[in-house]
Symmetry: C2
Subunit: 203 residues, 2 copies
C-alpha cells in the first residue's frame, strides 16, 4: 500500500535492482522524494547516459565510450599477452593488481551447457580471430592468460580455449586458484585448499 | 578506476543512495549497463516522475499526487481523531495495522534542539490550526494520538503538542511502547522492558 502511483512505480522499478528487496526499494523511493531535485535529475540523467554512451570496444569488447578502449590504446602495454576475462568489470580489478600489463579480451560470459550458452554466444571466435590476425606480426600473441572462475563453466571455457589454441605456438595459462593472501586456512573451503595443494609452488 | 566517465558518474550518483557503498554502487552500475534499455528508461523516468508529481497533501502533509490525499478524502474515516506521525512513510505502516480509522497529520520531523529543529520548522502549527478550525463543528477533533518514536526528540515533541493542546477539550494520547508481539523478552533492551512494565495493562 503506497501513498501515490508514481511512488509505487518507482518502488517497483528500484525493486528490480540486484540486492534490493521491497523494503529497501521503498526506503530508497522515500529518500528520492526527500532529495533535492538536482540530485534526482543527475541520477536520472546518469542512468540514460550510461546506456547511450557506453559501448563495446571493437578490439577487446570491454566497455568504452570511444571505438577502442583505453586499455587497447595504451602504448605502455605489451601486445603479446592477452588476459581473457568473463566480464568487463573484471578488467579494472585485475589491472589494479599491477601484475598484468598486457591486453585484455572480454568473453561476456562463459560456456554453460546447462544454460544453453555455447561458444557462439560469446566473444570467443573474436578472440581466435584477434590472435589469427596478428600471427607473424610484431604484435603476435604468445601467451593467453585465462582469468576465469574456478567453477564448472570456467573450467569448460578454459579447456575449450586451450584446445582451440593448440594449433598455434601459444602458451595458454590460467590464473592460480588458492588460499587468498591474508585468508585464514581454518576458514578456507576444502576445494580451494585442494587446489592450493595441487598447485603448490617450489620455493 | 572505472572503464568510462559515464560509468564513473553513474557509480558516484548511485553511491549517494542510503546503504549503497562504493562496491554496491559499481555493481548496480554494471547491472544498469547490462539491462535492457526499456528498464533503464523506465527507472530514469520513474525518478523524475516522483519528484514532479508527488506533493504534500494540503490538509495532512502526507505525500499525494492530488491536492488532498486519499486518507483525507476517505469518507469511511472518522474526523474526530488525528494520528500525528513524523514521516509520510509512517502512514501506510500504521494504517496496515487496521487499528486506526481516523485522520493523519505529518509533522515532517520532530523537535530537536540538538539539530536546531524547533516547532516552526515542522508542520506543528498547521496541526493546531487544523484543530482550531474545526472546533464546534461536527468534524471537531476530540483525540490526538501521537505515533512518535520513544526517543528524546519524540518525547519533547509529544510534550510540546500535549501542552499546547491543553486549552482545548482534547484527549492527547501516545501509542504504547513495549515488548513487540512475538518478541522474546530475553532479547529486549532494558529501556523497552522498563517502559513495558511502567505501562502495564490490567487484564
Amino acid at each position: 500500500m503506497s501513498l501515490s502511483p508514481s511512488l509505487e512505480k518507482l518502488t517497483s522499478e528500484l525493486g528490480r535492482l540486484p540486492g534490493v528487496g521491497p523494503k529497501t526499494a521503498l526506503r530508497l523511493a522515500y529518500f528520492i522524494l526527500r532529495s533535492p531535485k538536482e540530485y534526482v535529475s543527475a541520477l536520472s540523467e546518469a542512468l540514460i547516459d550510461v546506456k547511450e554512451k557506453v559501448k563495446l570496444c571493437e578490439r577487446c569488447f570491454s566497455y568504452t565510450e570511444q571505438d577502442i578502449c583505453r586499455y587497447c590504446l595504451d602504448l605502455n602495454r605489451v601486445d603479446n599477452i592477452i588476459c581473457v576475462v568473463e566480464n568487463p568489470s573484471d578488467i579494472p580489478q585485475i589491472d589494479s593488481s599491477g601484475a598484468f600489463r598486457g591486453r585484455y579480451h572480454v568473453l561476456h560470459g562463459v560456456i554453460s551447457p546447462m544454460e544453453g550458452i555455447g561458444p557462439k554466444d560469446l566473444k570467443i571466435d573474436a578472440l581466435f580471430k584477434r590472435i589469427q590476425n596478428n600471427v607473424d606480426t610484431t604484435e603476435a600473441v604468445n601467451e593467453v592468460v585465462l582469468a576465469l572462475d574456478a567453477d564448472l563453466e570456467g573450467d569448460t571455457t578454459a579447456l575449450y580455449i586451450a584446445k582451440t589454441l593448440k594449433k598455434y605456438d601459444i602458451k595458454v595459462s590460467r590464473i592460480a586458484h588458492g588460499v587468498p593472501i591474508g585468508g585464514d586456512i581454518d576458514y578456507i573451503d576444502h576445494r580451494t585448499l585442494g587446489r592450493a595443494l595441487e598447485n603448490r609452488v617450489t620455493i
